[in-house]
């Protein structure tokens, strides 16, 4: 299992310049990818333009968008062009784009797209995207419903899980593999997982606060998600082991504290495994 690092683009109040410094530092570290989330109505950096910039300051790591709320992005052609541009700037085999509808109605209201049309829009975009993006871009589908798995088997390379304890990941990953084999796709889907960490003195509460804020739209579940924050090397080791056993191909650990020391701390925690 490969381990990637999340970019600090969705931690409200991140200092300017942190993201690119973070990317340069991670390029040297033990991580195989740099990933970010997409969100419209939140104090965060825009996903595609950020990845283009990160492509310019890195050479080795894979770049991943987990996941892009595609129906808010207009035509498949415009989106495919952006994706191809990032892939070209990054160099061969370095770009993973996850697509989903996202769970947030406010993003759709702000984007003037009807929430009720999200599934149909993504289906239409996907049909064109697979033609337009071309080979060399890894395409994932995110989402928890049956529709997401149907999309994955139709046109994508794999599945991106939304995060959660290894048991929840395992059952979602099993479903994705079952869908894949039921549809007669050869091999198995690439499966990405994610988690959140905060390491170092005083970081636990800051990190939980950041998660509660980011996930406040999930209502009663924000508390549970915040409680799942990984705050020690042991917790990270156990989490990685659980994901590995459940058949995760790439696990991305996202930061919740906007501080460069988090990159080094995570690197050390991973080496202690």
């Amino acid at each position: 299992m490969r381990i990637g690092l999340g970019l600090p683009t969705a931690i409200a109040g991140s200092p300017a310049g942190l993201t690119l410094d973070w990317a340069r530092l991670a390029e040297a570290g033990p991580f195989t990818s740099l990933a970010l989330h997409d969100r419209l109505v939140f104090d965060s950096l825009e996903a595609m333009t950020t990845l283009a910039a990160v492509a310019a300051v890195t050479r080795r790591v894979r770049l991943a968008c987990l996941v892009l709320i595609a129906p808010l992005r207009g035509s498949a052609l415009a989106l495919a062009k952006q994706a191809r541009t990032i892939a070209v700037l990054a160099g061969p085999g370095r770009f993973t784009i996850g697509l989903g509808v996202g769970p947030r109605r406010d993003d759709y209201e702000a984007g003037h797209v009807l929430f009720e049309h999200r599934g149909r829009l993504l289906d239409e975009q996907l049909a064109d995207l697979v033609q337009l993006v071309g080979d060399g871009v890894e395409l994932l589908i995110g989402g928890r419903g049956h529709a997401a798995l149907a999309r994955m088997v139709r046109a994508a390379d794999g599945f991106c899980h939304e995060g959660g304890d290894p048991q929840a990941f395992r059952s979602a990953a099993d479903r994705a593999r079952i869908a894949w084999s039921d549809a007669g796709r050869p091999g198995k889907p690439v499966i990405w997982g994610l988690g959140y960490f905060a390491l170092g003195p005083g970081s636990t509460e800051v990190g939980r606060q950041a998660l509660r804020r980011y996930y406040s739209f999930t209502g009663v579940h924000a508390t549970r998600i915040a409680a799942g924050l990984l705050t020690s090397a042991d917790a990270i080791t156990a989490y990685c082991e659980g994901y590995r056993e459940a058949g995760c191909d790439e696990l991305v650990l996202f930061p919740t504290v906007a501080d460069l020391t988090q990159v080094e701390r995570l690197g050390r925690a991973l080496q202690e495994r």
Binding site: A147, R154, A155, R175
Partner: protein, 665 residues
């Protein structure tokens, strides 16, 4: 804010408490038609998972409840006097009256206005409040008043039940099955105190009619059930409390809210009591609603949208689980004559439990199931050659399984899915060395596509494709080529192609043949009502829709002496698709025309089908084919390992199963 709760059951009371706690300035009124001490029903059950959820969300209420509940840790099925007990399935229970008194007390302490014996007949009179909660249960007047906006759908179940209680002590959640001269009965026993239990008796319509229970008074019902369950009650009584016979009503609504009015609990959604989730869902609704309101201060309609969005997936999940469980209770007459161990295991695996989820709870129970069955499940597992795998992979599978099926092989060039499809003759050297089965198909409208490493149903460039056939001119995806509806001459060709392929398979030494009549391929387009729009004798009712597939089956059967299975999409996993009655009729017809087995696949009949993928996600379909239509079934779909195969075979749902070619490492 002025908040009105119509209905003072657990959901309404709990919400009033949470609202008042969130903001003591809210003026909250609860209208309840009964008196404070009145209550109907006996006990309320919470699973360990529900209690854990409550512990995380509301420590105070959790602690108050924990002081009053009794906890049990096992689950018992008693059938024909034999006991099947499973440990490690924990739940807590409380007398419903005690729960209500506890919540009433808390509400009163917080300053909620509780108005008892106050029946609301016209909810419109309360609409001036800032927020109106319809927590008035399954017969909700709030729901009726807003029916135009909420669009409720109420499904009346086929069984009849009576809600009783007993003073016989029970130490476990217990299910009894009993027969008398009128038919068969089941009892759900949910203890809620050391010497008190809810005792629900349930039966099918036929037994109910023969017993003449429609004319029973409450005393008649009690006496009848006491006689029926004499030995199980061991001299104890049954208690009644408005215990008329009823049919369960499953409530679903297109929307749970309109402007400033929202439904929670049974008013919005019900789930058959056999999954024990009524009070749990009502309390979870109350929690989710209060959180949604806290997050959107001053925006009630916005909060109600967020509430519904949050709760829908969870409620849908429970309703789906309840549907499977209720389905079992509606059809258990098919199983009551089974040996007790098999019956018990079938019952326990009816909705959420499987072999792998029980192993950690009670391995010794599972050993007893295995011993009683005396079946080596390994001998019932069939492997399938993985798509895109190479020769050595097939040899490896064939060496370690009693039978291994090839991938789908086209009966003709026109029947190919992709240009890369294999041929029967590719297996010429292997078919005589190993126990192999051939899977024959004609792609129909799913033909002429790119190899599946590029995805599914992505059409080849037009110049590289070939003409497609189907029952009717229906494209598989919007991008697919339009197939030609088959004429008589096409049918004769296809039938001959299948016969020729079957002959060739026998000749090459294949031991087994499976004809693919599902998944939206050619023969499947005749069977599914979604893809067959013909007006001739090959379209219309299931008898007509099966006509051509049966002609093909007979032609292949005549050429193949070994075992022959036909795979169908036993459901379309789509609204408007194949009904259960049609599925059973199709299975019987296939058996009558020479199929030794019917393989229960599902979905893929159109690109819109949405199978609920998961482990063993289609085993109930095999179970129905095997037990309701008496046709030997092969289960397929999400059977990932030997544990899943045990779930399917030892529960009597299928003779064999097709192992999913799922790789973990």
């Amino acid at each position: 804010m002025r908040i009105v709760c119509i209905g003072g059951g657990p959901g309404g009371l709990y919400f009033s408490i949470l609202a008042k706690r969130a903001n003591p300035a809210h003026k909250v009124t609860v209208y309840e038609r009964n008196r404070p001490h009145d209550t109907f029903g006996f006990g309320v059950v919470f699973s360990d998972a529900t209690m854990d959820f409550l512990a995380r969300q509301d420590q105070g209420t959790y602690r108050d409840l924990m002081k009053r509940v009794t906890r049990w840790d096992s689950f018992t099925v008693i059938h024909r006097g034999r006991v099947n007990s499973v440990r490690g399935i924990g739940f807590s229970a409380i007398e419903r009256r005690q729960l209500l008194l506890l919540l009433q007390q808390q509400a009163r302490d917080l300053g909620v206005e509780l108005l008892f014996q106050h029946e609301v007949t016209d909810p419109n009179a309360h609409l001036t409040a800032d927020l109106v909660i319809g927590s008035d249960g399954v017969n909700s007047v709030v729901r009726s008043a807003l029916a135009q906006h909420l669009r409720p759908h109420i499904e009346v179940g086929p069984t009849h039940f009576s809600w009783l209680g007993t003073d016989r002590p029970f130490d476990s959640l217990t299910f009894f099955f009993e027969a008398n001269e009128h038919g068969r009965f089941g009892a759900h026993v949910y203890p809620f105190a050391p010497d008190r239990a809810t005792f629900i008796v349930e039966t099918d319509a036929e037994t109910y009619r023969r017993a003449g229970a429609a004319r029973f008074t409450e005393a008649d019902t009690t006496a009848y059930c006491e006689r029926l369950f004499t030995s199980q009650l061991g001299g104890h009584r049954l208690l009644s409390n408005r215990s008329q016979w009823q049919r369960f009503r499953t409530v679903r609504c297109a929307s749970w809210h309109h402007e400033n009015v929202v439904l929670i609990g049974d008013a919005a959604h019900t789930a058959h009591f056999s999954v024990g989730s009524g009070t749990k869902m009502a309390m979870e609704d109350a929690l989710a609603l209060s959180r949604a309101l806290e997050r959107s201060p001053g925006d009630v309609p916005g909060a109600l949208i967020a509430f519904e969005q949050d709760r829908r997936p969870r409620v849908n999940h429970i309703q789906a689980m309840a549907r499977t469980s209720f389905d079992w209770w509606s059809t258990f007459r098919h199983y009551v004559d089974w040996p007790p161990a098999k019956f018990g295991f079938h019952f326990i695996t009816r909705s959420q439990f499987r072999w792998d989820t029980l192993v950690g709870r009670d391995a010794s129970y599972l050993r007893s199931v295995e011993a009683a069955a005396g079946i080596d499940v390994r001998s019932r597992v069939m492997a399938v050659e993985p798509a895109g795998g190479d020769r050595s992979e097939l040899v490896r599978l064939a060496s370690s399984h009693p039978l291994t099926l090839t991938r789908l092989l086209p009966v003709s060039d026109q029947g190919r899915i992709t240009p890369d499809d294999g041929r029967l003759d590719d297996y010429a050297d292997l078919a005589c060395r190993f126990r192999l089965g051939a899977q024959l198909s004609h792609a129909g409208p799913r033909g002429a596509c790119l190899p599946r490493r590029f995805g599914t149903d992505r059409p080849l460039p037009a110049a590289e494709g070939w003409p497609l056939l189907a029952a009717s001119a229906v494209r598989y995806t919007p991008a697919s080529a339009l197939p030609q509806p088959m004429n008589r001459s096409d049918m004769e060709h296809v039938r001959e192609d299948f016969a020729e392929a079957a002959r060739r398979a026998a000749c090459l030494g294949f031991r087994f043949l499976q004809l693919q009549f599902g998944h939206g391929y050619l023969l499947g387009t005749f069977i599914s009502p979604l893809t067959n729009r013909r007006r001739d004798q090959y379209g219309g009712g299931i008898g007509n829709r099966m006509r051509f597939p049966l002609e093909v089956l007979q032609a292949a059967r005549a050429e193949f002496p070994g075992e022959l299975a036909v795979a169908i999409s036993a459901t379309d996993w789509q609204v408007g698709g194949l009904t259960e009655t049609d599925m059973l009729a199709a299975a019987r017809l296939l058996k009558d025309h020479g199929a030794d087995f019917v393989t229960a696949m599902g979905g893929q009949t159109t690109s819109q089908s949405k199978p609920p993928y998961g482990r063993c996600f289609q085993m109930h379909l095999a179970g129905k084919i095997q037990n309701h239509a008496a046709v030997p079934a092969i289960a397929a779909g999400g059977i990932t390992d030997l544990d899943d195969a045990k779930t399917v075979v030892l529960s009597g749902r299928a003779e064999r199963c097709l192992l999913d070619s799922l790789h973990h490492t």
